[in-house]
Amino acid sequence: MDAACEKLGRQINVMEVCGTHTVSIFRNGIKTSIPKQLNLISGPGCPVCVTDQSYIDICLDLANRDDCLIATYGDMIRVPGESGSLERHRGRNVKVVFSAEDALLLAKEHPDKTIILIAVGFETTAPATAVVVREAAEQGIDNFCVYSGHKLVVPAMRALLSEKNHNIDAFLCPGHVSVIIGYGAFREIADDYGKVCVVAGFEPMQIIEGLAEICRLLKEGKTEVTSVYTAVVTEKGNQKAQALLEEVFDESDGYWRGLGRIGKSTLRLKNEYERFDVLKRFDIEERPHEDRSGCRCGEVLCGLIEPPECGLFEERCTPESPVGPCMVSSEGTCATWYKYGQRRRGQ
């Protein structure tokens, strides 16, 4: 890696688009153990963080309805919207689930309520939603619906690369998203933008190996797509999961925090499953709006600034009292920087 960086003779910017990579990089001190020319940038890899503010506000509105019960993954519970967070409604109209299937079980247990699954997450999480929507249709469970905020990784990478001022040389691609989509899914990034894409696992040696592969490819002037996470990632991914995604969802334009509207980047239920779409069931219109809190999560997510450059970081915004989602989510870039700084100061 050292030799490759030296030969390239310039700064190399590698973006990781996975919250677990971000955490592992900090936890293991990887930034300080790689050549100084290699600059690691955290991108939009945390699904909770990239979820638009308007999505959170709609969830909060739904949590006020006593005829509904919200089923959410724990990651979303503390994300602040305009009127607090889902935490405030926990135990009454909000329940934390660990599995999409649990949301369907809740629907069977509570026939008097409509159960709404708050379905965020990238391609790793979306197939679980697809399965339960299909099960609900097959079993005629009508008091169940989902608010799909599922997002696709590749369109976000394309959006970042379409910005004129981006400085990305290569991507360290997410491990478990790639279990589903396969490393071949990143080929369009290499073909259309000439960027190296390497999939890696999450343990430190995997990340180092992935970075070394990126350096080697850059040095040799090759824009290739590959994976060093051969234990679980194949070129084609989990085709059963992909088929289910295609059966249940359409790719639709969607709003991302920081990145704005991105074409075909969000998964919406197909027309034949629209009775399970919360937006259709309750006739809700999504209206994206600006966050006026002074929070700069959007720029953090695009890799344009590092968390300490935000005026709220460590001052008004801490994991105990977060202003933006990147400080709420355990995998958020701001929360990771905060914890890392805390540890460093404590040593």
Binding site: Y73, F98, V120, P127, H176
Partner: protein, 80 residues
């Protein structure tokens, strides 16, 4: 959030499984992984097995999860 947890299938009926991850047992579905069998080690995410995984890789990931949980001191992830 996109971290899947390795777990061993200890009960399996149709596509309904009980899996064991680091001593914790929970329900998981094998709908997305028709190759899963009783005794298989699988990666589980949001209650679904998404891939087979070998023993060595599972151990590495369990170690990583312990480290990360220790680092974050949080229970708020979608791990199973």
């Amino acid at each position: 959030m996109c971290l899947a947890v390795p777990a061993r299938i200890v009960e399996l009926e149709g596509d309904n499984a009980i899996v064991d991850a680091m001593g914790n047992r929970f329900r998981a579905k094998t709908t997305l992984l028709p190759d899963a069998r009783l005794g298989s080690l699988v990666l589980v995410h949001a209650g679904f097995a998404i891939s087979l995984v070998d023993e060595e890789e599972a151990k590495k990931t369990w170690q990583l999860i312990e480290q990360i949980d220790d680092f974050l001191e949080t229970d708020k992830r979608v791990s199973g």
